[in-house]
């Protein structure tokens, strides 16, 4: 039974004289390689030149601060739950009096660690985050010599007050639509009085 039409009969045909002396075939091959001398090299000289990357590139994470410079993360653990690689760990802390300029809400992440060797840069953490605190950016995670150096703590993850990182490109339409839902003003400061009187 014939299954495919790709069957080829093996031929043991005797080589012609031209084939046996190799020289025509060698000349053909050498012309092919010589033609590559005049082709442009596609090499990108990396540190000086960089390959253009997509605006929604998923690279190293950032923990955002709000417009007053307070950390947005409330250590709810949604990102850690969502993370398929289990790369995120955190411990919570309670905001003391006088720390209002440091932490946006009463609970905050005392430590927040992402193991960059476990992370698969899927972006589920930013999708899970209810506080718009974590985003992936277009920065690459640097190479390190030690495994422990790949565990990024808050010192590397939280953005600097004077060096804000633009994540507007990562704020997808779904997120922006979600923010427009009336009554779900999760970005506003938590206000117990408002909650008690409110329509929720």
């Amino acid at each position: 039974m014939q299954l495919t039409n790709r069957k080829v009969v093996v031929s043991n045909k005797v080589q012609t004289f031209a084939e046996r002396i190799y020289l025509p075939a060698i000349a053909k091959g050498m012309i092919i390689t010589a033609s590559h001398l005049f082709k442009k090299s596609p090499t990108i000289m990396y540190p000086e030149q960089k390959r253009p990357i997509a605006p929604v590139y998923r690279g190293q994470h950032v923990l955002k601060r709000d417009e007053n410079g307070a950390e947005r993360c409330t250590s709810c653990g949604m990102c850690a739950v969502a993370c398929p690689a289990e790369a995120i760990t955190m411990t919570s802390g309670e905001r003391k009096k006088g720390e209002e300029n440091l932490y946006r809400e009463e609970k905050y992440a005392a430590t927040y660690e992402i193991d960059m060797l476990r992370c698969i840069f899927c972006g589920l953490c930013e999708e899970a985050c209810p506080k718009e605190a974590i985003f992936l950016t277009d920065r690459l995670v640097d190479a390190q010599f030690e495994r422990k150096d790949f565990i990024y703590g808050k010192d590397k993850l939280v953005e600097k007050v004077d060096k804000r990182i633009d994540v507007t490109k990562r704020q997808t339409q779904a997120v922006l639509d979600f923010k427009k839902i009336p009554g779900l003003k999760h970005n506003e400061l938590f206000d117990a009085n408002k909650l008690n009187k409110g329509k929720h």
Partner: protein, 351 residues
């Protein structure tokens, strides 16, 4: 007498420096050329466009840990690369680099020594060169290294014969002298020897590829089958010497090819060019121009060697032997007979 010794010493040191420098930069050019053929850029970080890469490679080779296997034959293990390097360099002593210079009424040959058996000397030293590989491969006490050494020696024996016969044909057609200087001067006014010996040149070129262990004849150091071939056990600068000597061999093979078949430091209409520039015989300028022409020819051959290396796949061992004994040997004998007939009708042979 003192002047003679100084002049010879200067020649020796000059040729030695020329060999080392050109071989060092041949390694860089090899990598660059391979990169160009493969649409890459090649080494470009060390120095301007990678110009310091050979220095970096040399420093790396010297700094590496030197391992001599316990089970090896220690003295022979060290002798191998030394012998390979020495024979590679020594070959250069009969190559005429440029026209003789006349300084203060004294004629200086720009050649270390002009012995009247120059061609035989070349063949002899070239075949000693394989002893370096054989000794190194055997002393390593490693099966891969031994196989590489065996391949090198059998390849050398197979390809030396057609090479020698091609040279006999060349000597018949170039006037019967074995001195390289005479062979070059014979191509001074007339045609280069390639015109009368195209087939001989092809045979000699293929054999030169085989003698220098360049692809497609690099079976002795065949990475795919023999790990590293004869230099499997070598490390540090001993490995460096093996690799470096290969480039010196390539440089000298190119020089010999250019000298024997392409007129050496002569070029077409040389006399007319010199006359139009108002240069007299024996001036330094003529020697410099001739030396430049020879270097250009050598560079061309080196490029051809590299071009072939980065195009053709390696021969299988039986194909190598078939080509050597069943194709090149009869072909070189045919070339010899043809040369005799042609030279008889040209009137260069008398009975």
């Amino acid at each position: 007498m003192t002047g003679f010794i100084i002049y010879k010493a200067i020649m020796c040191v000059g040729v030695f420096v020329l060999l080392l420098a050109s071989a060092a930069y041949a390694t860089l050019w090899e990598r660059k050329f391979a990169a160009f053929l493969q649409d890459r850029k090649g080494p470009s970080r060390a120095g301007w466009g990678g110009l310091l890469q050979p220095v970096a490679d040399g420093v790396k080779m010297f700094m590496k840990e030197e391992i001599i296997p316990n089970v090896s034959n220690r003295s022979l293990f060290i002798l191998g690369p030394c012998l390979f390097m020495v024979t590679a360099v020594v070959t250069s002593s009969v190559v005429p680099w440029a026209k003789p210079v006349t300084i203060g009424g004294q004629v200086y040959d720009l050649q270390i020594t002009d012995i009247n058996i120059g061609v035989i000397y070349l063949l002899g030293v070239a075949s000693i060169g394989v002893y370096g590989i054989m000794i190194g491969g055997w002393a390593s006490n490693n099966k891969f290294a031994l196989l590489g050494a065996v391949r090198a020696s059998s390849q050398m024996i197979s390809y030396e014969i057609p090479m020698g016969i091609a040279l006999i044909a060349l000597i018949i057609s170039s006037g019967g002298s074995l001195s390289l200087k005479d062979i070059v001067n014979g191509q001074d006014a007339g045609f280069a020897n390639i015109v009368w010996q195209p087939l001989g040149f092809l045979i000699f070129f293929i054999c030169a590829l085989a003698e220098t262990n360049r692809a497609p004849f690099d079976l002795p150091e065949c990475e795919t089958e023999l790990v590293g071939g004869y230099h499997t056990e070598y490390s540090s600068m001993k490995l460096g010497l093996f690799l470096f000597a290969e480039y010196i061999n390539m440089f000298i093979s190119s020089a010999v090819l250019a000298t024997l078949y392409f007129g050496g430091y002569n070029f077409p209409f040389a006399q007319e060019v010199y006359a139009s520039l108002g240069l007299v015989e024996g001036s330094v300028m003529i020697s410099l121009i001739g030396f430049g022409v020879l270097l250009a020819k050598i560079f061309g051959f080196i490029c051809l060697f590299m071009w072939i290396r980065w195009t053709l796949p390696r021969f299988r061992y039986d194909q190598l032997m078939n080509l050597g004994w069943k194709t090149l040997l009869p072909l070189s004998l045919f070339n010899l007979a043809l040369t005799v007939v042609v030279e008889f009708f040209r009137g260069n042979i008398h009975f």
